[in-house]
């Protein structure tokens, strides 16, 4: 742990991550502008001291809109990962633990999912379900469930035949309790790393879907929704897309940097 904090890059990433999270959940601490207040006189004003990110096509302060939009994006990414992780882990663990036909059946379905680019899959699902926060969460979680299932299955496989699991079986403990009390605690740290890694990509997916026009729709857009709205103006007013995109990139970068460093430190071979 000490080695983690020795690296300045990790510290910076942690700081960025905390800052963005705080911004997302306490937006009024960071801006005094109302994200919905339109101002015709200041339409698409470039970044200045008054509006550090500039203004959008309705003269609304872009920084305020980004800060208020962050929460939605974080919530979308977080809850879709919670759902995907819960269902995916349940499927992954049981599939590895019980094996047999059930395992083969599950793996076939997962393979089918994997023969498809995740972004296009997300696009399909969200386009058919329609936009809106809940639908977006549902769509992103469907895309990520097979990823969790496959990863968690690979974590569980080596544990199926270890002595303490065999011992628990031989004294007649029920499968459910073996899974809950013997297998799950052992793979929990690895599941958490997988969760964080996928959280950052889910955040990216949300923004990209927004760019393609499937974000949380106005008037209370997520970051993705903001980017989608700004799209039509970005040639004349680049800031409407560049700054929200920058915030997305910084958020994802800081999470990736943290997980990457943790993995590097945890890997004894390197």
């Amino acid at each position: 742990m000490r080695r983690f904090f020795k690296n300045p890059l990790n510290l910076i990433s942690l700081a960025i991550f905390t800052l963005i999270l705080t911004m997302g959940f306490f937006p009024d601490l960071f801006t005094s502008y109302d994200p919905y207040e339109m101002n015709i006189e200041e339409m698409l004003a470039p970044p200045s001291l008054k509006h550090i990110f500039g203004t959008d096509q309705f003269g609304r302060d872009l920084f305020a809109r980004v800060v208020y939009g962050l929460k939605k994006s974080i919530l979308v990414a977080f809850f879709s990962m919670v759902i995907a992780c819960a269902i995916g882990s349940a499927v992954g663990i049981t599939s590895a633990y019980f094996g047999g036909k059930y395992d083969i059946f599950v793996m076939r379905i997962i393979d089918a999912f994997f023969s498809f680019p995740p972004l296009i899959l997300a696009l399909f699902i969200v386009a058919f379900f329609g936009t809106g926060m809940l639908k977006l969460i549902m769509s992103i979680s469907i895309v990520y469930t097979p990823i969790f299932a496959r990863t968690v299955r690979s974590f569980t496989l080596p544990l199926r035949d270890v002595n303490y699991v065999l011992a628990a079986k031989s004294i007649g403990r029920r499968d459910a309790s073996i899974i809950l009390f013997h297998i799950l605690p052992n793979i929990l740290p690895m599941i958490m790393v997988t969760f964080t890694m996928n959280f950052s990509t889910a955040f990216l997916t949300e923004a990209t879907l927004g760019f393609l026009g499937f974000g949380v729709p106005p008037p209370e857009p997520s970051l993705g929704g903001l980017i989608g709205e700004g799209r039509n103006y970005f040639l004349g007013a680049p800031w409407v897309m560049i700054y929200p995109g920058l915030v997305v990139a910084m958020m994802v970068f800081s999470v990736n940097m943290i997980t990457d460093s943790l993995q590097e430190l945890m890997n004894p071979r390197k």
Partner: protein, 316 residues
């Protein structure tokens, strides 16, 4: 080898069927079909006319029958007709393949040219300044949204060279020079992003290989470091890079949706996007089939190439 390829292709059939079936069911589960979309909110059609419309589009039959007739027609090389443009789906897909193919080839070339040397350098000089910069570059590429990098490039180029035609696409045989200039920025965007992943994989495998016995042997017998790196590290680290090529291709296809969208390039990615947004079912199904088949076939090709690079690997 040939029997291996045939076996893999046969094994892939259930996957492809599952994917198309899944898409098919999903399309029909969702409320609002193409007829609703065609008629809009102001629906002046009588019940009789509506029924006729459904019948002419083949949407009145049970779901399973519709799916089987789609498969049946597919075997006759008929993917149906786009509900949006009235063109044949197969023709639309075939027209757009070369565009996306060109984009893919250029992007991957850029990605490999940047990613592999950078990954080697960073892996060999682990912990150095080069390594730190390369690692940041790698993570940044992983974190930056595709559309964002594209937007930045567009803004920069349009400011620096106001005359440069950024959007649109010119076919190669129409005008090779403007073809290349129209594909330059899109492939640079995608290539940069993929290069970061190529770099990360190369670095990881270089680090792994440098720790192995035969490297220590090579060094201890007095082989110059340059030879160690070229003869032993380079060749061995190519394997994991190749293995992930299949996965990268999936990422690439996802990336083309965004890139073709932002640069207005008429490729497969844009076709998919438009079909999905307009609920053009036959085109959606056709492109789903095309994408899945491409990825499946590419994975097989990667596995075959694998045996050439690494003689230890045998196809079973």
């Amino acid at each position: 080898m040939i029997s291996y390829i045939i076996r893999r292709l046969i094994l892939a059939i259930p996957t492809v069927i599952l994917v198309t079936l899944f898409t098919f069911i999903m399309i029909h589960l969702v409320p609002g079909d193409v007829v609703d979309l065609m008629t809009g909110t102001q629906n002046y059609l009588t019940q009789e006319q509506l029924r006729e419309l459904y019948r002419s589009l083949g949407l009145d039959k049970p779901l399973m029958i519709q799916y089987f007739s789609w498969i049946y027609n597919l075997l006759k090389m008929d993917m149906g007709i786009s509900l949006r443009t009235g063109e044949k789906v197969l023709k639309m897909i075939l027209e757009r393949i070369p565009v996306t193919f060109e984009l893919a080839v250029f992007s991957i070339t850029i990605a490999v040219l940047i990613g592999i040397p950078l990954g080697m350098l960073s892996g060999v000089r682990r912990g150095s300044k080069v390594d730190i910069i390369a690692r940041i570059f790698g993570l940044a590429g992983l974190s930056a949204p595709t559309f964002w990098v594209g937007a930045i490039l567009i803004v920069l180029v349009s400011r620096a060279f106001p005359k440069f035609k950024i959007f649109g696409y010119t076919p190669f045989f129409e005008n090779p020079i403007s073809n290349l200039s129209s594909i330059l920025l899109p492939s640079l965007t995608l290539g940069l992003l993929i290069s970061s992943q190529v770099m990360r994989i190369t670095r990881a495998s270089v680090v792994e290989i440098l720790a192995q016995e035969f490297i220590r042997v090579a060094r201890s017998k007095g082989l110059p470091e340059k030879m160690v790196v070229w003869k032993h590290v380079f060749r061995n680290s190519a394997i994991p890079v190749l293995t992930t090529a299949g996965i990268q291709f999936g990422y690439l296809l996802g990336g083309t949706v965004v890139i073709e969208n932002i640069f207005s390039i008429p490729g497969i990615g844009r076709l998919v996007f438009e079909a999905v947004s307009k609920r053009d079912y036959p085109t959606v199904l056709g492109s789903v089939l095309f994408i899945t088949a491409t990825i499946v076939i590419l994975n097989i090709i990667v596995d075959v190439i694998y045996t050439f690079v690494d003689p230890r690997v045998r196809l079973e």
